[in-house]
Symmetry: C2
Subunit: 502 residues, 2 copies
Amino acid sequence: MNYQTVTEALNALRLLEEKQSALSHAMNMIVYDAATAAPKNTALGRGKTLGILSEYMYELIAAPENMEWIAYLHEHEDELTAEEKRRIEMTEKSCQQISRIPQNEYTEYQMLLNDAQTVWEKAKNENDFPAFAPYLEKIVAFNRKFAGYYNPAMAPYDALLNEFEEGMTMDVLDPFFEKLRSAIVPLLEKIRLAEPIDDSFLHRSFPVEKQKQCAEYLMAVLQIDRGYCGLAESEHPFTDNFNNKDVRITTHFYENNLTSALYSVIHEGGHAIYELACDDRYNQTAIAGGVSMGIHESQSRFFENIIGRSEPFIHAVYPEIRACFPEQLSDVSEEAFYRAVNRAEPSLIRTEADELTYCLHVMIRYELEKKLIAGTLAVGDLPSEWNRLYREYLGVEVPDDTHGCLQDTHWSGGSFGYFPSYALGSAYGAQMLAFMKKDIPDFEEKLRVADLADIKGWLGEHIHRHASLYQPSVLFENACGSFDPSYYVDYLTGKFKKLYHI
Amino acid sequence: MNYQTVTEALNALRLLEEKQSALSHAMNMIVYDAATAAPKNTALGRGKTLGILSEYMYELIAAPENMEWIAYLHEHEDELTAEEKRRIEMTEKSCQQISRIPQNEYTEYQMLLNDAQTVWEKAKNENDFPAFAPYLEKIVAFNRKFAGYYNPAMAPYDALLNEFEEGMTMDVLDPFFEKLRSAIVPLLEKIRLAEPIDDSFLHRSFPVEKQKQCAEYLMAVLQIDRGYCGLAESEHPFTDNFNNKDVRITTHFYENNLTSALYSVIHEGGHAIYELACDDRYNQTAIAGGVSMGIHESQSRFFENIIGRSEPFIHAVYPEIRACFPEQLSDVSEEAFYRAVNRAEPSLIRTEADELTYCLHVMIRYELEKKLIAGTLAVGDLPSEWNRLYREYLGVEVPDDTHGCLQDTHWSGGSFGYFPSYALGSAYGAQMLAFMKKDIPDFEEKLRVADLADIKGWLGEHIHRHASLYQPSVLFENACGSFDPSYYVDYLTGKFKKLYHI
C-alpha cells in the first residue's frame, strides 16, 4: 500500500513491533521452559515449533512492504519525535539484519554452529582441541566475512563488537584493557605475597532448602517485586524478560557452595531490576528492554559486586544469612565472611573467578578473538597462546584445554565480540557508583541497613527507565559523562589494597 | 493458487497442520507457564501475546485459500487414505468452526465470558447467585443460538454435546444416566445404613516433601517416562500435551490430605499415558493427541479408580506409601487403607466426590444444563432445582449456592455439554476393563505386583496409538463393542457391595 500519512505509517510500525514482541515472547517462553522445567528428552518437538515461529518472524521482518513505510517515515523525519525515530532506527536494523547475510550462507552457518556445539561439548569433555579446531576455523572465517556484511567500512572485529555493544570499538577497548592490565597484574603480584584469606567455611554443607530461604531474603532486600519476577532453577543462572512486568531469573544451588547461588541471585537480580524498571511506554516496541550487553552487565555486576560484596551491605545482610545457617556459620564473623566472599585468587575458570581477576579472564579472550578475526592468530596456535596469556596475566599454568581454551561456549556458538561487555559492564558500574555517591550523600549509611531505595532510584532515573531509547554510549554519558576506566581501576585498587592490607 | 495434484494439495494441508501445531504449542506453553511458574501479576503481557498469537491462528485457519485445496481434495477422495481423509475432515472442521459464528457475536460472547468469570468468582465467594444470574442467562442464550450455528439439524443440546464428544446425543445419555441413577441411588441408601468407613487417618499431617517422593514413586509405577513427562504444581491439577513426546501433568499438595495429590497424580498420569502413547506418525497433524473428552476421562479415571483404588493395586503400592510415612501410617493396615480411599459418602462438592457418588454429581449437572438449554428451566430457578436434585439423588441438604450451583467454573466459562464426558469416561473405562480382562488372564496377579505392562499394552493397542484417527464411538466400538452402561453399573455395584458388606 501507499502510506498517505505519518499516522498510517506509524501504525504499520506499531503493528510490526507488537507482532515481533509476541513472537519473541512465545519463543523465549519455550526456551525458558526448556531451561527450567521441560523434561529432558523434549527437544525435538520444541525445535519444530521454534523453527516455525522463526519462519513467522522472518516473514514479518523481511516483508518488502516494511521498506515502504520506513522510507515514508524517513521522508517525514521532521514530524517525528526522538522516540519514534529511535523505534524506526531499531526496527530498520532488524529488517536489514535479516537480509544482510545471503540466505545460503546463513543456513550453512547455522548448520555449522549446530554441529560445532556438539563437537565442542565432546572436545571439552575429552580435552581434544584438535577435534574442535576445524570447526572453530570455519566459524572464525564466517564471522570475518559477516563483519564485512555488517559494516564494510569498519575493521571486522569492530563490526562484530558493534553487534553486542552499539558503537563500541577497539579504539576504546585497547586502552581500557591496557589500563586494567597495568593496574591489576602488579596488584595481584602483591596479593600473592600477602596473608591469604580463608574461605573454606563457604564450602561446608549448606542444605539447599535453607539456601532457597536465603535467596528469597535477598530478593526482598533487592526490593524485587515477586509479583512480576520469578526465581527458578536451571543448570546455569540467567535472566529472561518477556516484558517489563514479567521477568524471570534463575540460579543453581550447590550444597557445598554457599555463595555461588546467593551471588548469582544478586547478579541476575541486577538484570531483573533493570528490566523491571524500564518505562511502561516502551513495552511492545522496538526499544523495549535493556539497551546492550555492556549496560546490562553494568547493572548485574554492580549489584553483585559493588553492592553485594561491599562491607556495609554484608554488615546489613550477614545476620540474616547466619540465622539461616546457625551451625555452619557459628564461628564465622561478619568480617571473616566479608573477606571470604572477596578472596582474590588467580584461577583457571572465568565463570568461577573473583571480582578482581575476572576482568583478566575477559581480557585474555578479547586479545585472542581480536587476533583470530584479524587473522594474525591461527586457530591451531590458540591453545599455546591462551596458556601463555594465563601464565603472564594470572600466573597460572593451564593443565589442559578443557580448563583452558575449550572452557567457554561463546566461540562454538559463534559469538565474537561478546566477551568485552563483561569487563565493560564492571567498569561502567564503578563509574556509576562514583556519580551516584555525589547525589546520595548518605550512601554508606543506607547500605549499612540494606536500604537500596535511593540507589535503585538513581539507577532507575539515569539508566533503567530509558530502556533502549538511547545508544548505550549516549545513555552512559548522560548519566556519568565520558567513559573513564580510571573509576574502575581506582575502585578495584582501593578495595583490594584495603582488603589485603597492602 | 490452483492445485494441480493431490500431492500439492496434501502439502498445503501439511503446512497448515504444522503451523497450527506450532501456534498451539506456543499458546499452550504460555498458558501452562501461567498455571505453574509465572509470577502472579504477569497476566497483562501474557494476554497481549496470546491475543496476537490467536490472530495468527485465525489468519491461518480462516484463509480463504484453505477452501480451495480442501475442495480439490474432496474431488479426489478416492486417491486418499483413510488417515488423510480424517486429517482433512478435522482440519475442515477447524476452518468452519472459526467462521460459523458471526464475528461480532463471537467478540460479544468472549467479552461476556471475560466479565462472567470475574462476576462468578465474586458471586461464589459471597454466596450471591442473583449477581451471577443475569450473566448466566446471557451465556445460556448464546449457547442455544450457537448450537443452531453448529448444527441446525440437531436439538441444541445435542449440538453442544457434539462439541465435546463427537457423535454423542441425549438418546445415548438419557438411558445411560437413568441406568446409573436407578442403580446407585438405592445402593447409596444401603451404604448409609452400613457400618461407616473410617478415613480420618488420611487427614493426618503428611509433609509435602514426602508426598512428592510418593508422587515420584507412583509415576514410576505407572511407567511414565519422565524424560517425556513433567510433574509440576498448580492450583488445580491438569494435563497439558505439546506433542506425544512432551506432556506435563500437575498436582496440588495438601499437607492434611494424603490422597488428594496422590490420586490426582494417577488421574493426570492416565491422561499422560494416553498422550504419550499416541503414534508418532500423527504428531503435528490435525489428528494428533487424544480424540475426545470422554475417551480422555476414560483413561484418567481408569487409572485413578479402576486401577488406583483397586484391592490388588493397593496391595502392591501400599508398602511403599507406608514407608514414606512410617509414623503417620504405622497403625493403618493395607485393608484399612484400601477401604479409606474408597469410602463412599454423599457430599456437596463434585471435585471432592468419591468414585461411587461422582457420577451422581455429573448427572445432576446434565439434567440441569439440558433443561437450561432447552429453555424448560429458568436460570432463576436453578438454585432450588439444584438443591432438590442433591436432596433426591444424594440425600444431602445444600446449605448455600457457594456449595451448590455456584461451585463449578464450567458454566461461567461457557461450557455446556462438557459435564457428561466425566461420567461417560468412567463408564467407558469399566467396559474396557471387562474386555481387557478377557485378553489378560492373569490380570489380578499382574496388578498385585503393580506390573502394568499388559494393561498399558492393551490400552495402547486398542485406544492410545490411534490418537484422533477414529471418531470416539468408532474407536470405542472397535475396542469393546457397543457402549453398554451395564459394565459400569455392575462394576460399581460389585465393588461397593463387597466393600460395605451389603
